[in-house]
Amino acid sequence: MPVTGTGRTSRIIRWIDYRLPFVATVEHELYEYPTPRNLNYWWNFGSLAGIILVIMIVSGIVLAMHYTPNTTLAFDSVERIMRDVNYGWLLRYIHMNGASMFFVIVYIHIFRGLYYGSYKYPRELLWMLGVVILLLMMATAFMGYVLPWGQMSYWGATVITNLFSAIPVFGQKIVTLLWGGFTVGNPTLNRFFSLHYLLPFVIVAVVGLHLIALHSHGSNNPLGIDSKGPQDSIPFHPYYTIKDMFGLMVFLIIFSIFVFFMPNLLGDPQNYIPANPLQTPPDIAPEWYFRPFYAILRSMTFNVLGIPSKLIGVILMFASILLLFVVPWLDTSRVRSATFRPIYKKIYWLLVLDVVALGYVGARPPVGSTVVIGQIATFYYFFHFLILIPLVGKIERPRPLPTSIGAAVLGSTAVAAGDD
């Protein structure tokens, strides 16, 4: 729908666009934006992540209108939301389960990028901005989980803030600074609420940068080869808007099943007990989306070179995420898509298994064989990124790439294409 008409509306739009090119930009980025014609359903998860971000912000803003960030009132105000506020139960269950859905979507989005090499030239900054979003999401989710002020809120906050006590010399001073006191307390709850409200809007800003970077070179695609011309791409609208809409409908059905039929499945019942600073619950496990990292933290049960295991565990846990920043430079292969990389494809699935194993370990009490499994899985995680990825890129012989997306998809040219 380019603005070519001569009617009053199009004259007004042209007047505005000459001064503030809003409609023209939307048209350019939606109607004309050339998108590879071969995107599969794994490419739905970017727009899904954007939509769930909006759902989280909208439900969060409404919940904040009923929530009280004070240690003596917070738990009761959440119960009031559940019992007295009109549809409060629905809003809270949307927000609680929405956090889990957000992480499912983003983890799939990240693994999509790892499989199809979406982080490679020229999309390194696009990828790194994505890692920034992941870090912001983790901080936001952690602080949000503290707000209901249940047992898990309190002890989760205590454990995670105590990570910083592993820092040599200044550790305890930093932790006191984070708490605003000598334990997690009212000042902690207040600042966490403030930051939990702020960070989502920082995420929105970084998502904006993520989109600008995306639209500079367009989407990667399952073949991992660049578009060579119009025959390789189709306009984003209506082809991918409708595909994204369909994916959204499927997602909303799954989301609704959680919200309406098993809203507490992913939560911990301990968090329905008000916070008690004098009693730690029998076992503490973080929300499922933090468990792989929690497992890495706990896998360090021994000192290395005189460095205490506590410090190494904290370093490894942060390193496991920060590592993602340098993946574009660790990967030495020029071929993006794992479809054409026989060895990488295998180790990719090993990594998926490894992260699932870490998630399992992170949920279990750290005793017996769980510890050993966690240590092996932690070792493989770093081995995968630091050794295997650089090495496989060097020794692997990729299969021949198709000449173009159009040729591979339309089959109009003889192509030695993918594995289907």
């Binding site: 014609r37 909208v58 209108m65 007295d84 506020v85 009109n86 549809y87 809003l91 089959g411």
Partner: protein
């Protein structure tokens, strides 16, 4: 695989203009269903801003009238707002009843405003911009009609709390109330 791609290229149009009509119909119905769904999804967010159950539970107030002497005025809180209770002496009742209501800005008879003539019960919030009029305390300025006087913008109410002078458009609101006995009421 190429068949799928080809049919996508041809947009799935039927022969002639029948395909267009069918597509228009599907677009319209799908959009309509989507719009209804969106409105249903938005409603819980909007409704959550309405008074919650615990707020509504506080929406009635019981008042024992027996300690209030003739001529005494009492203020009670109902839904967070002041309610004026006036145990009117006979001269105030007479003054209120004798007014020709065709001269009033918001015509109401005193009988319409007081279930029992000796008890006037009104919400003590000026109908102009929400201030609380004077007249409840000893020595307050009650204005020229012996009722209430709003210090914010000078609205004057009579002994039936009807607007007589000043910018307010309406009489002081009479809340829903009922006598649970001769000397007790439930407001709300």
């Amino acid at each position: 695989m190429s068949d799928v791609a080809q049919s996508q290229v041809s947009h799935g149009h039927g022969p002639g203009h029948d395909g267009e009509t069918r597509r228009d119909f599907l677009t319209l119905t799908a959009t309509a269903v989507g719009a209804v769904g969106a409105i249903c999804a938005i409603w819980p967010f909007v409704d959550s801003l309405n008074p919650a159950k615990d707020t509504l539970a506080l929406s009635t107030t019981d008042v024992d009238l027996s300690p209030i002497q003739v001529g005494q005025r009492l203020t009670v809180a109902w839904r967070g707002k002041p309610v004026f209770i006036d145990h009117r002496p006979p001269d105030e009742i007479k003054a209120a009843a004798d007014v020709d209501i065709s001269t009033l800005r918001d015509p109401q008879t005193d009988a319409q405003r007081a279930q029992k003539p000796e008890w006037l019960i009104v919400v003590g919030v000026c109908t102009h911009l929400g201030c609380i009029p004077l007249g409840q305390k000893q020595g307050d300025d009650r204005g020229p009609f012996g009722g209430w006087f709003c210090p914010c913008h000078g609205s004057v109410y009579d002994t039936s709390a009807r607007i007589r002078q000043g910018p307010a458009p309406l009489n002081l609101e009479v809340p829903a109330y009922k006598f649970t006995s001769d000397t007790a009421i439930t407001i709300g």
